[in-house]
Symmetry: C3
Subunit: 315 residues, 3 copies
């Protein structure tokens, strides 16, 4: 594997999940694999899980890690070609990406969606520019349209809690006061499309994700109906895609409650975190035994570690 | 030792001080003790000494260290139970604490007093929430009401400069333009209550610390009288406790001068730093041979290291 | 070598350049030299290249590295002697420098020019205070008036691209929308004064650098004439020195273009980065084969590494 910017770049999701679960049993087995090599973690946005788990994963592999909050510690980057840079941006990504590649062997990047410019977000300008110019492996720590490290951790977690039958998996929208990106939902959808499952997306009408991502995945506007017999309920807010980045619905009826969970097949509750309690999900659900959100967070270490292991083996 | 959030959690202050002084002589003796283990340092507030000395201590023990400025790099945390999280806080400490514990073996936290909400500050909501939810050892790097790592470093420093008689130790308030927390003073008082010393607290009337902490420690409102024959003068500003967090006195007569130090028994001048020169203390005092503030700062490494060593040995 | 705060502190620039080029061939040769030792990198200003390359260099030498953004993570420092500290500064450099030296063996500092107070900038108050009080080696990661780590990287790069004759080297001013410091230009001039080269500085009249630095270096106000037969063209903006810190000229005719580069002897284009494309230099030049800006950035690792190696060997 050269880059990891989309879940589809994995040779095999199922194999990778199995390898990650093996790795988790002896996480220091490859502690010399990264010796003498460096990973730069560039954060254009805040982070808790990704920040800590990626450092942990790198440490487990013996990689030297350099963390940089690009926004506050570096220079504002320009991404447009041919522009006269006489405004507020001090450095072009053409130089920045090449320069960073002088000091590390892998670069991991978090750069959220703007939610104001659909075209730029869809073009994944930050990730794609680094892929184009850096000349070293690029890892996506949540970009404008995807969060494949989260999706891989989710797949690992679902494997650990797998049921004996073909599972029913629901991705449910839930309300949120602020406009959130589509990245987590997109990558979850893309990951589920690689799984043998009965997969349903539920959200209010008009809250469709990018149809180029959902493709022919089943959409059910009735949340209760979607929850029926579900084995896994993955909950996530996203802002509107058509009215790009707008919050056009805060319907509290979409919050996940114990009552709704009763419709499921003793389903597991999943969320990528951070989560707003009693807005996205009622305390009674996230505090229940069926909530596996902490296990998901734990698996962020192993999704990062298996990805970095594959990249290191290919360097 | 499981947690270190208050100086009273030490089995024996005197023994710990001796062990720290031994450790200081061969600080790399236990350089493999923390191998394969990680400490997260979470800063909700600024830091110089604590930031650098705790990293140094962890390094000396072979611990992997991850530093995070929680305020600017992470998400705003909610601490209230059962709340509808539709305002500015994105994550509940219930999740945050459990999640962080997935990626490290020890978590150290700096979270200053609000100085606006006495009840919340007294409840030590940040430290106590992490103790409740993280399930891993919690270390206090200055909380709302205590700074036990500083107090232990102070005890180490006083041991290094001990006199042959039962020492007289004075904790003196001094003026400051801004409202400062009570944490350092509180922990110094609690530490002194474990020592065999003639201990006196001096401050303007009305500037009493929390009586639940000072208990029956002697209070002397006349600073000059308090200084008489003192072997150690520990100086610190704190804001008013009764008129909680207010600055009701900036009396410059309380500044520590050479003239006042003449009243002491060739007493040592101590301060936790940072210190405002010529406000808290005159240049002539802090620049004198009797000032041991740099030695106190140096011992921050060894107070942190002995605490982390004890925690690691108990993991 | 004790400190590295000015290029003149090198015993021999030429020898150091050769040693750096050797080191680059086997950068992990001295990976145990810094074992058990710590370097603190203190950033009072933003940084990309310096931040990453100095960490890489330290890692290559086995040094433990602690990075601190002093402005946002620490306390505001006072540098005046004898002042009553009742305003916004919480800590005096007298304490801060001594304290930091308790936790590390080398301190590296980035503290840009204010561009408002010429006397303070010229006095190098930050670097000089740390040299005075810290008592450990101080490394300049760009100060008010110099950037000797960049100048050494530039010398290494020019050696790698050396011509068979005595080279002509031009330092050319170029326009920029914002007021920039003189540090890079100053250190480049000081470095060139140690080289056997035909060295010319070109800038609009009135944009003279500090004459105490340029001394008798040749100044040519006609940029085209300066470029004639140049082997290396080093481009950099700086704000006015006489009208200190002002931008009194934004003449776009001073931008470096392919047409101007044609006047040179197939000259190499150099810049310390970050660079504003199509303001300082046209895309056609920086994207050409003659641009060696990425190589300069790469050599930042080796200029830092050779300097830290020399300091470590002298500890």
């Amino acid at each position: 594997m050269q880059h990891y910017t989309n879940i589809k770049e994995l040779d095999s999701l199922q194999e990778t999940v199995k390898e990650a679960i093996e790795l988790k049993k002896s996480e220091l087995k490859y502690k010399f694999l990264g010796e003498g090599k460096t990973i730069c973690l560039l954060f254009f946005n805040n982070s808790l899980r990704t920040r800590l788990s990626t450092q942990k994963a790198a440490q487990n592999l013996g990689l030297n890690t350099v963390v940089m909050n690009f926004g506050s510690e570096g220079w504002q980057l320009e991404f447009e070609d041919g522009i006269i840079m006489d405004q507020d941006k001090s450095e072009h990504v053409i130089e920045a990406a090449q320069v960073i590649a002088q000091y590390c062997d892998i670069v991991a990047i978090r750069a959220f969606a703007s939610l104001t410019d659909k075209d730029k977000d869809s073009a994944e300008i930050v990730i794609e520019s680094f892929k184009k110019y850096a000349g070293i492996p690029v890892v996506n720590m949540e970009s404008a349209t995807g969060h494949p490290m989260q999706a891989l951790a989710d797949a690992i977690t679902m494997e650990e809690y797998k049921v004996s039958h073909k599972p029913k998996v629901v991705l449910s929208w839930a309300p949120h006061p602020k406009a959130l990106p589509h990245a987590v939902a997109n990558s979850f959808v893309e990951m589920m499309q690689l799984q043998d499952a009965d997969f349903v997306i539920t959200h209010p009408e008009g809250y469709e994700l990018d149809p180029e991502i959902t493709k022919n995945s089943k959409i059910e506007y009735n949340q209760n109906k979607a929850f029926e017999n579900a084995d896994f309920v993955y909950v996530k807010n996203w802002s509107n895609f058509k009215e790009y980045g707008k919050v056009v619905n805060k319907d509290t009826n979409w919050m996940v409650t114990a009552e709704k969970m009763k419709l499921t097949n003793n389903g597991k509750f999943m969320h990528c975190l951070p989560v707003r309690r009693n807005v996205i999900v009622a305390d009674e659900v996230i505090d229940s035994e069926n909530s596996i959100v902490i296990q998901q967070a734990n698996n962020r270490t192993y999704s990062a570690q298996i990805v970095l292991k594959k990249i290191l083996e290919n360097l």
